[in-house]
Symmetry: C2
Subunit: 442 residues, 2 copies
């Protein structure tokens, strides 16, 4: 019998995160102070984030950053996640391609988000912080942060994008089970929320707005820091544990990926699985293709502009050099709530600009069709976000079928969709539709 | 750092199921034909189940039954499941006990049920069956059978207990995503359902009634067999993969359990984790205690009678020798839908009668309190069923705290509760209550 799943022993779990900023051909352009347009230093970020995270955010020199022992100890609760050969999917597609996926859905919170929630909560705790705030789209990040906060005895306040709060009530319940305070965003509890609600009383929320609310709460609460689940450099850094594990596991399988594919919201699961393999392209002449799969309704990489923009709707954050649809952009209410963000992280934006990676956009119906096929073939119901990576994988596998090439495709199954079944219900009932980025929800 | 999770390689996954009937001191009494009260032979069961399953059901001679290669190949999709040392829970309880759990919740359907759904669908397919029926309580079994049926190209029809159909709509969606037909039970589609609904128009359903409906559909549909998710001997047989893996994994951890604990509905997850360890008690003088944790609202082992009874409400099944509350018993609408069954499997009933195991009953509020504590300590939200095992574990761990004994406790985390968040919501809001078996839902 052929081996299906590849798992590392606890000793083989990586001890360092990989910081691609130290090795990429062109570093990301600097963060700017919006008022002065001066380059920001780590100290300028201290009011917002734990200090150690501020330094990680701007570290462009050290390729390897040690994972604290306390964090590694908690990673062991669910890592390594399995690398799985998708024999079932290959068979369904009748493709000569070898398809592998990294199954981050087995994390107790159901997605890769915990990989960064644990160190973020850890560094806050270590610096004597007592409260953390954040936003959440689909609820995956919020649930992970709520749990991580609980582990370190921190109080967590989460702004959940209103449309997700309503589409995915179970995610709210999970956060509450871990003791977090959950508020649908936009809310009347912040200046940013009140402004939006006054202008658009039926606003369904966006990640950009929820970030503004969480940042505002952090700024106005003593001993409180803000945390973010994607976009930022230090978040992608923490997620590189995915790609490092996958590299060792592909070695166990005796293969190396021709393509690495991940869905794309702010870039952390994409960067997490890609960057360690991209290092091999940059330093060792490998020729792997890296493909970000974004929703057609929110396609910053394929249809956005590379420019300085805010990370949030209200303009509270520094200016970030990124591919963006504009910080006021409110995408259509697709069910992949985690991908409804207007911009791409700085690292990925630079890599995209430099041609080191590609992007495709996927329509909502194609994504759910791919998700159902995968579910029936592999038994795992994927998160609507991850369905985008699966759809992009299926496109490539079908190309291999046409050409007869036995390419090796690795994609990241960033999370499961068990809490998104209401979305699958709607898809199966024919009640979902496609959107472009001209269809916004306001 | 201390090792937290123990995982077997694919080669170490057991190749045989363990059939305790061949080695227990007193075999279970025979199945009887209700009309003649004559002992049933395998052939008498052919109309209901795949033939191979009928033979497994009555096999009291072979202790080891080979797992077909096709089934082992599919087990590899998620097995081995991790054995986990619950350091987080131990710390919270400040107990000297060493607590381990076998994490069956990582199965793609979220519970141990897939372990038997795969072989049941396999044997049906092998015999040329095209359709399968079943009932489901919480929906865990129905989801697993729906997926297994899909894997082998069988059509599946599932009767879901009405109260669960309403409490857990996502489980219905999962079954439908795999292409199964799902009907809330009691329904007007069967004679058994119509009779109940005529007498009790607001009947909320029970496993006993749903079984009657599924059996009736199987009997009246060409080339269709019935399948069951617990109670029967062959189901417990398939689940022994859990205990066999756990035994190897406990060896990796360098410990041996003083107690093995599992929640109890019909007995398959309990038998699955217990029987391989019980073998060591029977044959090799080990002194492990085996504790079944049942709900106070449906306590067949602690408050039922040992007698011949039907497995279903309408009396379609053979007579089974078992601890029962009566086949017409309809338990209160607790949220652990998988434990709302009136009887205990034949093997477990005999073992209970012979003093080889124990049982405790757990109130609904104690079960959810335990579940929340476990979630905060270990990051996994347990199924309401599994919460009963956790509550029993906590009772024993607290006893160790009083006596200072470093006992080793192993419990089975039979499933996760991500789809049961509405139940947690109610618990957190103070809207749940306790029930005894005098509180029935009709």
């Amino acid at each position: 019998m052929k081996q299906k799943r590849f798992i590392l022993s606890e000793e083989e779990i990586p001890r360092y995160w990989y910081n691609i900023m130290a090795e990429m051909p062109n570093k990301p352009m600097p963060l700017l102070n919006p008022a002065t347009r001066e380059e920001l230093k780590a100290e300028d970020l201290y009011p917002l984030f734990a200090k150690e995270l501020c330094h990680q955010e701007l570290n462009t020199t050290d390729p390897w950053i040690e994972i604290p022992e306390e964090v590694r100890d908690l990673y062991k609760y669910y890592r390594s996640t399995p690398l799985v050969r998708a024999y079932g999917l290959e068979q369904r597609l009748r493709t000569p391609a070898h398809i592998y996926f990294k199954n981050e859905s087995v994390s107790p919170m159901g997605s890769h988000k915990l990989n960064s929630a644990i160190p973020q909560a850890y560094y806050c705790k270590k610096e004597g912080i007592t409260n953390v705030t954040t936003e959440t789209g689909a609820g995956q990040w919020g649930a992970s942060l709520a749990y991580a906060a609980r582990l370190f005895g921190l109080e967590a306040a989460v702004y959940q994008v209103k449309i997700s709060y309503e589409q995915k009530p179970y995610r709210r319940s999970i956060m509450q089970t871990f003791g977090a305070q959950v508020t649908p965003s936009p809310s009347m509890s912040t200046r940013a929320g009140r402004k939006i609600l006054t202008e658009h009383p039926n606003h369904q929320g966006s990640l950009g707005t929820a970030i503004s609310e969480a940042v505002e709460l952090a700024r106005t609460t003593p001993n409180c820091k803000y945390t973010l689940g994607s976009v930022l450099n230090h978040v992608s850094l923490h997620q590189t544990i995915i790609g490092q594990e996958a590299m060792k596991q592909m070695e166990m399988a005796g293969e190396y990926p021709d393509m690495v594919i991940a869905c794309f919201g702010g870039g952390s699961n994409f960067g997490g699985i890609s960057f360690p393999f991209m290092r091999e392209n940059i330093l060792n002449g490998k020729k792997t293709r890296f493909i970000a799969a974004e929703p057609s309704s929110c396609p910053k990489l394929t249809h956005g502009k590379f420019e300085y923009d805010f990370g949030d709707e209200a303009g509270y954050t520094p200016l970030l050099p990124m591919f963006t649809l504009g910080h006021n952009f409110t995408p259509a209410n697709i069910h992949a709530g985690g991908l409804r963000y207007h911009g791409a992280g700085m690292i990925v934006s630079q890599l995209m600009k430099d041609g080191l990676m590609e992007a495709v956009d996927i329509q909502q119906l194609e994504s759910f069709e791919a998700g159902c096929l995968f579910a029936q073939a592999e038994g795992i119901i994927p998160a609507p976000e991850s369905c985008h990576a699966i759809a992009a994988t299926i496109r490539e596998a079908n190309r291999c079928k046409e050409t007869g090439e036995e390419k090796v495709i690795l994609f990241n199954l960033s999370g499961h969709g068990l809490i998104d079944m209401a979305s699958y219900d709607k898809y199966l009932a024919g009640d979902l539709q496609n959107y472009t980025f001209n269809d916004t929800s306001v």
